[in-house]
Every structure is written in structure tokens, then in C-alpha cells.
């Protein structure tokens, strides 16, 4: 599939849509609109995963990010109900933002330049999209997660535990 015309068109369209959605997320004044564009962004990323033969990750992306997490985000926005005038207030553009824009522009320029001059990896990864298609997606992920990446996997569980502890102690009622 890689290399076909369809592949490139699909890639370019979803990538541009993802960037567009990301820009909309940070420029909309209404938080619900931002959240909706974030859903669009997550969906575009899921399509990009699909193009790389990572169907499992694509589905997880849709279910967990676009589904569960965004649901939570929208709930919170609805519950907090941002004031209308707060929403209308014009945010001035101070020096820091201008400077940030310049830096982001430099960053993009560097990335584009880097892609144009074709810096290809020093070592090709072991699991290219073709190889994953051959082995099976879920099998590869599960296998790697419990062998080569066993230790990082376990460390991630500590991060989740710490997060839960934090949520409990910061929000529990006074005794």
C-alpha cells in the first residue's frame, strides 16, 4: 500500500486536516468548539496510524482519546460553564506571544528543511509497517510490551498509581 497514489493523497489530506484542527483548538474562544476540534484532531491522527498499518493503536486512539477522554473534557467544560463575557474578552497579543510565534516559525522551518534534505534514520527500526502487517498488529504490540519494553511498562503503572493518589488526596473531603 505504501507508495501508491491513494496512500499519498490520504496521508496529505489527513495530515493537513490534523494540523488545521490543532490550530483551531488553540484559537477558538468557545471551549466547546475547541474540544470538538480536538476530537477531529484525534480522529485524523487515528487515520494516520491506520495508514501505518497500526490498526490496533488507531482503534485505541478513537476509543480512549476521542471517546473516553474527550467525553470527560466536555463534561468538565459543561459543568464549569465559562462566562459569556469571559469568552468574549479580547486577549491582547503581548511580546511573549509574538516571540513564541517567531520561535514556532523557526521550529517549523527547521523541520521542513530537515524533511526536504531527506535525513533518513541511522538505523531503520525493526518493525516497519510492512513487517507489522506480516506479523500481526496486536501480537507485535503485546509481544513487545511484555518483553523488550517490560520495564518501561511497569514504570508507567507507577505513574498511573501516583496520579490516582494525587487525585484522591487533592480532592478528598476534610475529615
Amino acid at each position: 500500500m505504501t507508495g501508491s497514489i491513494f496512500y499519498w493523497i490520504a496521508f496529505v489530506v489527513t495530515a493537513l486536516a490534523a494540523v488545521f484542527a490543532a490550530v483551531m483548538v488553540i484559537t477558538r474562544r468557545n471551549p466547546i468548539h475547541s474540544a470538538m476540534f480536538l476530537v477531529l484532531n484525534f480522529l485524523c491522527i487515528a487515520v494516520l496510524y491506520l495508514l501505518l498499518n497500526a490498526q490496533f493503536i488507531a482503534i485505541i486512539q478513537v476509543m480512549i482519546y476521542a471517546g473516553a477522554i474527550m467525553m470527560l473534557v466536555i463534561f468538565v467544560i459543561m459543568l464549569l460553564s465559562v462566562e459569556e463575557e469571559e469568552r468574549r474578552r479580547k486577549i491582547p497579543v503581548p511580546l511573549a506571544q509574538m516571540l513564541g510565534m517567531v520561535l514556532v516559525f523557526i521550529l517549523f522551518a527547521q523541520l521542513i528543511f530537515g524533511v526536504v534534505v531527506k535525513v533518513l534514520p541511522g538505523e531503520q527500526g525493526e518493525f516497519s509497517p510492512e513487517r507489522i502487517a506480516e506479523l500481526g498488529d496486536v501480537k507485535t504490540i503485546a509481544g513487545l510490551l511484555f518483553t523488550k519494553f517490560l520495564f518501561p511498562f511497569e514504570v508507567a503503572s507507577i505513574i498511573l498509581l501516583v496520579g490516582i493518589i494525587g487525585a484522591v488526596i487533592l480532592s478528598k473531603k476534610e475529615r
Binding site: G114, G166, I169
Partner: protein
Amino acid sequence: MELFQVQVTMTDLLVIAPELALTGFALVILLMSAFARPERRGFLGYTALLGVVAAMVSLYWGIGVEASAFGGMVRIDPLSFFFKAMILLICLLIVLVSLGYAKREGIGFGEYYVLILFAAVGMMLMASGVNLLIIFLGLEVMSISIYILAGIMRDDTRSVEAAFKYFLLGAFASAFLLYGIALIYASTGTLDLAGIGRVLAEQSWISGRPILITGVALLTVGFGFKLALVPFHMWTPDVYEGAPTSITAFMATGVKAAGFAAFVRVFFYALPSLQAHWTQIMWILAVATMTVGNIIALSQSNIKRMLAYSSIAHAGYILVAFVAGNELGISGILFYLLAYVFMNIGAFTVVILLGKKGEENTLIGDYAGIGYHHPLLALAMAVFMFSLAGVPPTAGFMAKFYVFSAAVKADYYWLAVIGVLNSAVAAYYYLRVLIYMYFREPEREQAIGGFSPAAVLAIIISVWGVLQMGILPSAFLALARQSIQFLL
């Protein structure tokens, strides 16, 4: 399918034994605090202490050993051994200090100690990780624990503000770090530090490429935030002031030690071939960090804020050694960090002891006349202030001496000159505390609030460390030299 096979050997477990011990104790304390009656929660702190000691004992295996575990994810070698020992020492001192402080401020729950232990696990992973993935995960374990610890005094608005500010900016900085890691992976094809070093050495044409350079720059931003380097320091004073004082000491020493451990590991282990590129950035960062930290510290009237800016400045001095990059320089980083642990935790402990519940007494004016009312405490504070200012015969002097001589040796004369000028400026605000303590009449009666034997023990250990490293530094320097020998 033999592609996926895993074998966890005894060596693997021994390499991460200290982390395992701390995690185990943290989980036990978590369960105990759920079932213990509120009035009997005092022993949770002692259990945490036991956990740190157990981790120290389990670290004993690692002396002089070089081994990696879990397919080259973590590694024990003299460098990670040194940093792990230092992190455990910090953890020990902080738990000692907290025994009295947490009780006084009503931070009664065991989660406080659990989070300290988990933060230490994260720090040790940063120090021993030789894969960018582990370094990132360790950083996250550490950071998330510290975000919560900063806001653990929920009734105190400043504490909540500190936690929130640190969390928002910290999450942003983590994103920078992750983006940097992704770009480095994109240009080298590996996350393994040794592998990155190998790719860059074999295929040197990559090293000038924009994607790699951008990745390294973003990595520097991510680490720079955690280390509070200028211009990524904006959060430091507010967070250090608002967080509980014991946690401020933990942030100023533990987070810095772990950050510099990962910094040294990444830059001297994986990216030495880019040294010409990153030295220029570090030079500017070092000068900005020293100068901005010291100059703003001059005008602070709150001692916690002053120590926050001073910790920024000290990170700048350490960067001077980093720029020098020679043997004396890298061992100077280790020496400096250890000296900084003693003097900084000591100073914060004195600050804690001079406060009361709900009344922290952190204005410098509150220190007036302490020299007469609490002569021993004031003497200890004087030792720490002299050491922070870099006056002989204290650890701070020797640390600065090694750092600046490393810079001179590597022909960075201007850097050394700027550093020495900065220490002269810094002497003013450290000695001002002494003037208040000894030459000013107290405005009101001062009483020591949370006088606890454990905190006194922490002060004694710190004073011993400051004087020992100042008067007989050669043993410590030799240790630091041995720890970095394999890097060169």
C-alpha cells in the same frame, strides 16, 4: 515465536533493587495509612525512613559494578551509583525533616511519605536510565509526585497555586522533552543512549542535520525547565515559596540532582559528538542563569524566595562545569551537587524550625536577633550561608573552586570570570541574613515552633557534610572522579 522472549534474571532485579525497595515500602505505607487510626499515623514517617535505609542497603551491591538490566534499559555503573546514593541521602534528610514538620503543619496523611518515596524512585530511574524512554518515564514519576506534594497543604492558597503553576508549566515542559526525544529518534532510529552515540559516531553526517539539532534543543528546553535554568525559571520563585518548605528543599536538591544526572548521561554518553554545538548554548544558559538568579535574589525579602533564586544561580555554576566538559568539570558537577545537597537542605531545615503552624516567619526581618535567642541554630544557619556564598573552609567554596578551575583549564576564562563576579554579588544576600541574625534587635518575640529531634539530626548531618567536604574535600573529589571515569 522466539522473537518475543523475556527472562528476568537476578541481575536485572539487583540493578533496580533500590527502586524496588522504595516502591515496596511506598505501597506498604499506602496500605498502612488506609487502615491506621489517625492518631497513630506518626509511625508512617518512620516506616518511610526504614524504606530509605533498606534502599541504601540494597544499593550496596552496586559498588563498583557495571551491569545493565532489562535489555539495556537501566544500568548500574559508578555514575548512576553516585547519583542513586545522593538521591537516597536527600530522601533520608527530607524524611527526617518531615517527621516534625508534617505533624506541625497537619500534613497527617501517609500519602505524603508515599509520594516522597515515589518521587525518589523516579529520580533514581532518571539517574540510572540509559534509554530515553526510561529517562522520560522517570521524570514523569518524579514530576507528578512533586506536583502533588507541592499542593498537599490544600488549605493554603499559596500551596495550591504553587502546585497548579508547577503542574501546568511542567506538563508543557514534558511535552517539549518528549518532542525532542521523538525528533532524536526520528534522526537516529534508536532511543538507546549508547545506540544514539554509536549512530552519531559512525554516521557523522547526521550530526549536522536540522532534525537532530532541533531535537537536542527541545531536549535542552525540557531539562532546563526541571533544572530551573534561565530563561526557563519563571515558575521557580512562586513554586518554591508556596510549596511546603520540606518539599521546597526536596525540589531544590532532589529534582536538580536527578535532572543533572540525566543531563550528564544524555549529553556526555549519547551526544558527545555534538559537543561543539551544545557547548555554545550551555555557555549562554550558564551566564544567564548565574546572573539573573543572583541579581534578582538581591532584592528578595522572603527567605524562601531568596533561596529559590539562589538555587537558580547555583544551577548556573553547575552549568559552568558542564560547559568545561573536562574530567575536573564533570566530577565538579557531582561534587557541587553533593555539597549543594548538604547546604541547601540544612538552610531549609533551619527555616522550617524557625516557623510555627500557620506562621512561617520566612521574611528576612524575622531572623533579627536569632543569634542571641537560638545561638546554635543561628550558628548552623551561618555555616550554611557561608557555604552557599562560597566562603572557605566550607563545601561551597571547594565546589566553586573546582567548577571555576575546570572552566579555566578548558580555556573558558570569561566564563570563570563571570562566575567569580557572580559569587561576589551573591555574598551580599547570603551575608545579609547573618547581619540580621547577629546585629539586629528582634522586632518581636520568636519561639521555635516545630522543634523535633529528627530535624536537629538532619541539621547535624548537613553541618558535618558542609564542613567535611570543605576541609577534607579530596576523598569526595576522588569519589566523584571515579564515578565519571568510564565516560571519558
